[in-house]
Symmetry: C2
Subunit: 350 residues, 2 copies
């Protein structure tokens, strides 16, 4: 790379900082001196100490970097000290929305030798390698709900899913383009038989944009039917495009069937390039195993491949992917510590 | 039974009428002469012939019966002749809403010998036997959305999830009571870190009602995390309670991991008894295999056990469950025709 890129690093909560450390180790190994890292102390601890989630000045600073690396954000479910959703909405989703991360990219690939919860007859001899393009700035994630008579037997609470032609089109277009560069197949997931308003919009845009990609084969699945498809034959998928909430749900299932959430990387991409994109593992902060040094950093490391790819460093990205694949194949089902895994993958790249 | 009960029978679309025929065969076998069946010709064909989905007069008639048996409803996705969602919303959901089917009950059980897409190490030696209590009259299923500037690049489409303390409480209470009669464990599925308004309501009610059931152990999972749990260890579940859409999604996955949608029964229960409850397989109309006589009627047959149980005929219900379990174990992975399966199960009960 010609000039040092500035990278904001947000380790976050729980196992977030632990896996991020290994990701940075690998990134530094494949491209030494290419980056200036700026660590941001954000998350549960900062909130508990200062009451701050994401100060405006910090957000402004982050807007100016070239990319963001994020570990994981979120307190333990049921945690009494932090209101539910405060960190998720105030930090993680705030970044996705403020930085206009329209394309939430989540590749899933079942590497040979990786333990999967699926039966042999489902996976044997089939290539399972797909990517979910999840919309990242609309849907039920807008925080566009409310409640009246809270705490009473007459309470009414609503959540509003917001879908715009603008928002749907850019993510659908991105998905078609990816399908064209891959195996040429695109699946739309929705529930248009029930969510008829949003469904009509997604269907229309999917068809209209599709006219520009005549070589991409398309199909449609209701989100409930997709649950079945994902466990009885995930090899049928190439690229999946869907809304924010369905994307959240289907990508955890996708991660589970391809060897677990410990391996699933993701990119939150700003398609215009106006603001930095953000790279993070799909998994959460896993408070139950935090601090024990046993979290699998593979997903965080693979996210560095997505980061390098996004910055135009295709070859370096491919090298990380290869090292990860080899490591996964060689370690089999033996569990190693967070730093051991990071060291081993970095070692392969040194 | 003392007097003949009146049962409305709606075969519906696709494989609906085929599997319903076998269900009635079994019902007649275990309780000959106990029912008057009233067939209602509703679904895609009637709409195509007459433009009617569910005439008001028919709905009024149906309100007066003792129970409803439904096959399946819905045209093929992408069908040009029937607008998306017309039959689902005009017939199936209309019945659930008009008849106030608050409790949508969906048991899942992995019978010995049933082929599952899950690996041996996930299922071996574990009992997988749980029930999802899905809210049936609220959430995103209210049809409470809209769109402006449709068909233009400025289109905005919304969907509103409606949650009331009244609606949440009755389904949560039902779920606690069921957990108490089973293994004493209840799991709430939601996404309260993002859907904070609805999430707060569900959490509050879950906790408040829980105080009346101190012997029921509870836990909470985000819907995305539940996807993982369902494939890596479904034996952890006893009773699950969740909202309408999450329930739709998780029950298809639950059906898939416990041997497929061909086996999953369901009941739509009116908790006050003011209107008839409705019994139907979880699967859809499967237009791709309709008319071939190959649809598995087991789910429709198992739904008859739920119907008998609901009408207080516990013993007859148990007999059907037993016959189904035996048949599933004996047929193994061999596929038999729709009528053969029905005949065989009825034969066991004769
Ligand atoms: C932590 C949570 C808000 C987040 C989401 O729902 O998007 C996570 O589940 C994810 O998938 O990145
Ligand atoms: C057909 C459809 C409207 C229905 C639903 O979404 O509830 C079905 O998927 C179900 O689960 O019964």
């Amino acid at each position: 790379m010609t000039e040092r890129k500035n990278i904001a690093v947000i380790g976050g909560d729980g196992i977030g900082p632990e896996v991020t450390r290994e990701a940075l180790k690998v990134l530094e190994t494949v491209s030494p001196g290419a980056f200036n890292f700026h660590e941001y102390d954000l998350g549960a601890e900062r909130w508990q100490r200062t009451g701050e989630v994401l100060p405006e000045s910090v957000l402004e600073e982050i807007k100016g970097v070239d990319a963001i690396i994020l570990g994981a954000v979120g307190a333990a479910p049921g945690s009494k000290s932090i209101p539910s959703g405060l960190l998720e909405r105030g930090l993680l989703l705030k970044l996705r929305f403020e930085l206009d991360h329209a394309v939430n990219l989540r590749p899933s690939r079942l590497y040979p030798g990786v333990p999967t919860p699926l039966a042999q007859h489902v996976v044997e001899g089939r290539e399972i390698d797909f990517v979910v393009v999840r919309e990242g700035t609309e849907g039920l994630y807008c925080g566009n709900g409310g409640a009246v008579r809270t705490g009473t037997p007459q309470e009414l609470a609503t959540e509003v899913s917001v879908n715009t032609a603008f928002g749907v089109e850019r993510v659908v277009r991105d998905a078609y383009a990816r399908a064209q560069r891959r195996r040429g197949k695109l699946t739309l997931l929705h529930k248009h038989n029930v969510l008829v308003n949003a469904g009509k919009l997604w269907n229309r845009v999917f068809t209209e944009v599709g006219a520009e990609f005549p070589d991409v084969e398309t199909n449609y699945l209701h989100i409930d039917a997709a649950m079945i498809a994902m466990v009885v034959d995930p090899s049928q998928f190439d690229v999946i495009v869907t809304d924010n909430l369905f994307g959240d749900i289907v990508t955890d299932l996708a991660a589970a069937v391809t060897g677990g959430i410990g391996l699933a990387a993701s990119a939150n991409i700003n398609p215009s390039g106006d603001y930095p994109s953000m790279f993070e593992p799909v998994h959460g902060s896993a408070p139950d195993i935090a601090g024990q040094g046993i979290a699998d950093p593979t997903a965080a490391i693979s996210s560095m491949a997505l980061l390098l790819d996004h910055l135009g460093e295709r070859e370096l990205a491919a090298r990380i992917d290869e090292a990860v694949a080899t490591d996964i194949a060689e370690r089999g089902s033996s569990r190693t510590s967070t730093t051991e895994t990071g060291d081993r993958i970095a070692g392969r790249l040194a």
